[in-house]
């Protein structure tokens, strides 16, 4: 501990400990107070050992230790660990104070979540005040772990992150592996790995060791490859593509085709994700390609759904009784036409104004659907019921799996269209317009035409998605078409990466799939959206799977400031 090494003054060390500790404590307390900790405590990840609630609770102290150790980079290793531990312990203070306060004064009316179950969790079942030292100890330990995390090499960090991610994912979605194992192996095998919905401790250990091992092996190989990069590796080529690329695509496609067969709920969820992917890809044309921030996209979805409803319903208000297959292209066309029509009044608007006006459009359409004025046609608040399920050559599309395949076709079509458009002359026009409208015009680009085409083409997939949605539910109601849909689709685009097609798919899977599969999350859906968006903007501003242009821009930015801290995706 030579004096010369210590660049941070002692007082600022304590300031760091206190600051990061209290911030971590605030995070922990926040998760407690919104009820997540208590609600998620029912959900075991590792049987008897670790619940989802614990995991959420541990994020705060872990981050406190990690940040403190980072801030004290010029100190000795032992000091960093020690202060990390202290910061973790400090993170326990806010929760302790609130709990002790609640003993004296009844604040239950304000903090509804501060219930005895929560206190039970925070004191590890020992009650107040006996459990408090234990809480300080556990939080301190997590702070220590957070500090220790900063010592790991990038490789090791990746391995740890991945292992954690794999365990949490497998445990959260255990329904799927359990059902797959039960179906293709036996219930006994499933019981040997899982207990209820949670991983058994042994399988958790094995799984994490496996992941760590594989991740290490992978990064070693990647490193070796880098060394021998000059030699061109021999590759098997199948047609125009390397064979491993063909194989991985085949695997993905097989996965997409087979997975929904294993489970109805899963098929339903995947169908839902697919609907959002379709809408995401369409809205991405408007927002990502053309830079038109449209918050009224749900209106087009509603147009598609209502077109199917009106044209195919067998209820009393129906006068057309068309088949789904005739009505489907009409729904798409209606979507396209109204997309363009709604685009006309906003031709001269940009950015925020455009967002607000289109948001208004979305609401107007919903209110019109609710109105008495149109109720002879669209059923008002009662909506339209008795929409028959489509059938093709005597084959009824009436189960989640079958709808899923229908959606999959829609997704494939939309994705194909989006890729082709992006690389087309029109795609260039959109890009130029997004970057600078005046310059685009002076280069000869017709803004009116370019904008309307973006709205119209982007709307086609929403019409399609709405059509399937209506047929799947068998009935449609105005309240199904709220602003939330527009927001979810837009969030999927942002999380996936503006303009990136694979990004939209991943974004929709995360935002729509997670809450559907995890009932526990449903209540906190928007809280988690918010956290996810903020964390994403801080750590991966370009999205999960950014486009090349976006990546390029960020890379060339990074060349300028190498000292920037690299993003951490630590869980806790």
């Amino acid at each position: 501990m030579s004096e010369a090494r210590n660049n941070t003054a002692p007082s600022s060390v304590w300031k760091s400990v206190l600051r990061f500790g209290l911030v971590g404590g605030a995070i922990a307390l926040y998760f407690c107070m919104v009820g997540m900790v208590a609600a998620f405590d029912q959900r075991f990840l590792v049987a008897g050992q670790l619940t989802l609630g614990d995991l959420v609770l541990y994020v705060g102290p872990f981050l406190a230790g990690l940040s403190t150790a980072r801030a004290l980079a010029d100190r000795t290793a032992w000091q960093r660990l020690l202060f990390g531990l202290l910061a973790g312990a400090v993170a326990a203070l806010p929760s302790i104070l609130i709990m002790l306060f609640s003993q004296q004064v009844n604040i239950g009316a304000v903090f509804v979540s501060l219930s005895s179950p929560l206190i039970n969790i925070l004191t590890f079942g020992r009650g107040l005040p006996d459990g408090l030292p234990l809480l300080v100890g556990v939080f301190g330990l997590l702070g220590l772990l957070g500090a220790a995390y900063t010592f790991l090499s990038q490789q090791a960090r990746n391995a740890v992150n991945l292992a954690l991610l794999v365990i949490v994912t497998v445990a959260l979605f255990s329904d799927i592996p359990i059902r797959v194992i039960e179906k293709y192996f036996s219930a006994r095998v499933a019981r040997a790995i899982f207990q209820g919905n949670a991983l058994l401790p042994l399988s958790a250990v094995v799984l994490s060791l496996l992941t760590v091992g594989l991740s290490y092996f992978g990064s070693l190989r990647a490193a070796k490859k880098k060394v021998g990069e000059s030699k061109k590796p021999e590759r098997l080529i199948l047609g125009r593509y390397p064979i491993n690329q063909v194989l991985s695509w085949a695997l993905v496609i097989a996965f997409l085709l087979v997975l929904p067969q294993t489970d109805r709920v899963l098929a339903h969820v995947m169908m839902f994700i697919g609907l959002y992917v379709m809408m995401g890809l369409g809205l991405n044309i408007e927002v990502g390609f053309a830079g038109l921030l449209d918050l009224g996209y749900v209106a087009i979805f509603a147009f598609g759904a209502y077109t199917i409803g009106i044209l195919t319903t067998q209820a009393a208000i129906g006068t057309f009784g068309l088949s789904f297959w005739v009505a489907l292209p009409i729904a798409v066309i209606v979507g396209v036409v109204f997309g363009a029509l709604l685009g006309i009044p906003v031709l001269r608007m940009r950015g925020d104004y455009l967002a607000i006006v289109t948001l208004g459009f979305g609401e107007i359409i919903r209110l019109l659907a609710l109105s008495d004025w149109l109720s002879p046609l669209v059923g008002g608040a009662q909506g339209i019921v008795r929409i028959p399920s489509p059938s093709i050559a005597g084959f009824d599309i009436n189960s989640p799996e079958r709808y899923y395949y229908l959606v999959l076709i829609g997704v494939a079509l939309t994705a194909f269209l989006a890729v082709r458009l992006r690389d087309s002359r029109l795609g260039r026009q959109w890009m130029a317009m997004r970057e600078d409208e005046d310059v685009a015009q002076s280069m000869g680009i017709d803004l009116v035409q370019t904008k309307l085409l973006a709205f119209a083409i982007g709307s086609a997939s929403a019409g399609f998605a709405g059509a399937i949605f209506a047929a799947r539910l068998g009935g449609i109601f105005p309240h199904s078409f709220s602003l939330i849909i527009s927001i979810t689709v837009l969030s999927a685009i942002i999380i996936g990466g503006f303009g990136s097609i694979p990004g939209v798919i991943v974004g929709a899977a995360v935002l729509v799939g997670l809450p559907e599969l995890l009932r526990e999350f449903n209540e906190y859906r928007f809280l988690i959206y918010g956290i996810l968006l903020v964390v994403m903007m801080l750590t991966r501003p370009a999205g999960l799977l950014p486009t090349d242009t976006f990546k390029r821009e960020l890379e060339s930015l990074e060349e300028g400031d190498e000292g920037m801290n690299n993003p951490v995706s630590a869980g806790g």
């Binding site: 026009q429 130029a432 970057e435 600078d436 015009q441 280069m443 000869g444 821009e553």
Partner: protein, 236 residues
Amino acid sequence: MAMLEVKDIHTYYDNIHALKGVSLEVNEGEIVTLIGANGAGKTTTLRTISGLIRPTAGQVKLNGEDLADYETHELVYKGISMVPEGRGVFAQLTVEENLEMGAYSRNDNRVRDDIENIYTLFPRLQERRRQVAGTLSGGEQQMLATGRAMMARPKLLLLDEPSMGLAPILVEGIFDTIQNINKEGTTVLLVEQNALMALSIADRGYVLQTGEIVLSDTAKKLSNNKMVQKAYLGVD
């Protein structure tokens, strides 16, 4: 007949009367400069010519044809190309992709050759052909914007303050290039605050003051004009 004829145009921003009867002419093969202080209306004049704003009165004619019937995006097909103030390069595209965008209006197969020509004009751009335009320096962005405008093979090039924010040495380079472009047959209307440089390469000039042309003459006579010297050349 002049190539570009601006006849007594009045342009408003809501109720701000930005141009109060501006008239000017640009003949084929000339470099004509429009100088004036901040807020005089130079950019507004260019924007009016290119149709980004419409005048409430007056006419803009190209080779005798009234441009009021054309949209901005159609003018490039008539041979007008503009380098906007503040450059407006496509930040997310590479240098080369920016140049390709500049040829958007063309459908001949000489685009590649022209890109190479631009690189000869601006060797700096060739070195950075794969770099994203948003990360170019200010001077390089100006070169790129100019090069991109040239990619449309314009007959008339409108330049809005190409020297803005550039070091003196780069300013000279840009003005040399403008002269070269002009020698190759492109007519230039050059808006500038750097009156000294602009008048040194221009054939004729106009002085704009709060929306009105107060002087017009050959470049040589303007640089000797007492009032111009005092107001724009810093000579008393």
